[in-house]
């Protein structure tokens, strides 16, 4: 998990700042975004092992941000942060491919555990996609 690249998305900049400081002290490489639009732009520019996304933000909602992130990169692993999880939002988030929910205030150890799972899952998906691409290339080439 040390060295994993994480994107924290929350309009509470003091929250992302403090959380980033703690994660960086544990060896993670952390970037932050204050809204959904910025998160989508960051994720388009760079690959993250996990994205920790607040559900309630100005502009694009967390759910809409999740949908756009998954559209542009199906392997992206998103952990949702919420202060008030509802069954309806949870179901919608899982349907859109969120890895998990973590309630605010977050327990850092729990969050790090989820980031570790996200990173491992993403590595498998990327590896699987690479293997499929190689298989496709091999099938097309008349060796």
């Amino acid at each position: 998990m040390s060295g994993d690249r994480v994107l924290l998305v929350d309009d509470e900049e003091e929250f992302t700042r403090a959380l980033a400081e703690r994660m960086e002290a544990r060896g993670l490489r952390v970037e932050t975004a204050a809204d959904g639009e910025a998160a989508v732009a960051r994720a388009a520019a760079r690959s993250f092992d996990a994205i920790v996304l607040d559900l309630s933000m100005p502009g694009l909602s967390g759910i809409e941000t999740l949908r756009r992130l998954r559209e542009s990169s199906p392997e992206v692993q998103v952990i949702l942060l919420t202060g008030h999880a509802t069954v309806q939002t949870g179901v919608e988030a899982m349907r859109l491919g969120a890895l998990d929910f973590v309630e605010k205030p977050a327990d850092l150890e729990q969050l790090l555990e989820r980031i570790g799972e996200a990173s491992a899952r993403k590595a498998i998906l990327v590896e699987r996609r690479a293997a499929e691409e190689i298989k496709e290339i091999l099938a097309k080439k008349p060796w």
Binding site: D11, E12, E14, F15, A18, L19, E21, R22, A25, S56, M57, P58, G59, G83, H84, K104, P105, A106, L108
Partner: protein
């Protein structure tokens, strides 16, 4: 049509009560989440010092404690708003005068405005705000009016709240700096519900919200009973602690 038990009147008011309480609880929870991380950060600094068998970095700890203090002040303000909101149902005006109720209404609306990326501000009142009914009823009417203004305001623009007097009646005017190019699908229902709620309280809502133009939502309040032409407030109750 109201049910004999007043259910039809109560449901929109309860929906407003739920939305306002949820907004405040969300803000308080955010403060707690930040304090939680800052407390963790202090723990990290102390643990790192213990591991290295050195004194903890005092300057760093003081800097984090200042950040904790800032969040405590923020949380205290949210709790104060929650307390005032809870007491808005006390007595005729919840112990608040018109300008205090307006200030509370604007403070309660800040979260919704922020979520729409719209700046919400109050302009110094040109006329006193005399409340015709209870504070809670006014907060509800303002919430509905603000909902209309925010639904049509262009993200990145602003809404200014001013109180004017027109033909002896107080008008709370929410001026939208620039309306969005389109209204979303929920707009007709939102407008119909707001107009109905206003009518139930003897108030009137007018909207001028054209795409790409400045606009406004005007909440015209009925005359306050027994209030003189320039008097402010109305009966004052006991402010709750």
């Amino acid at each position: 049509m109201n049910a004999p038990d007043g259910t039809a009147d109560r449901e929109p008011a309860l929906a407003f009560f739920g939305a306002a309480s949820a907004g405040l609880s969300h803000e308080i929870n955010n403060v707690l989440a930040i304090i939680n991380e800052l407390a963790g950060l202090i723990g990290d600094v102390v643990a790192a010092a213990e591991r290295a068998d050195v004194r903890a970095d005092g300057a760093r700890l003081r800097a984090v404690l200042e950040r904790v203090s800032a969040q405590i002040a923020r949380g205290k303000e949210q709790v104060r708003l929650l307390n005032r909101f809870a007491h808005s149902v006390d007595g005729p005006t919840g112990g608040l005068d018109g300008s205090e109720v307006l200030s509370l209404a604007v403070a309660l609306g800040q979260r919704a405005a922020r979520l729409r990326k719209v700046a919400l501000a109050t302009v110094a009142a040109e006329a006193p705000l005399r409340l015709p009914g209870g504070a809670f009823e006014f907060l509800h009417l303002f919430h509905r009016s603000l909902g209309l203004a925010l639904a049509r305001a262009k993200p990145g623009s602003g809404v200014e709240v001013r109180v004017i007097e027109d033909a002896g009646e107080a008008v709370v005017r929410l001026e939208v700096a620039e309306c969005a190019p389109t209204a979303d699908a929920a707009w007709p229902a939102l407008l119909a519900e707001a107009i109905e709620v206003a009518a139930r309280h003897g108030a009137r809502l007018d909207t001028v919200l054209e795409p790409g133009q400045p606009g406004h939502v005007s909440l015209r309040l009925p005359a306050a009973p027994g209030a003189g032409p320039a008097g402010e407030g109305g009966p004052r109750g006991t402010r709750g602690a």
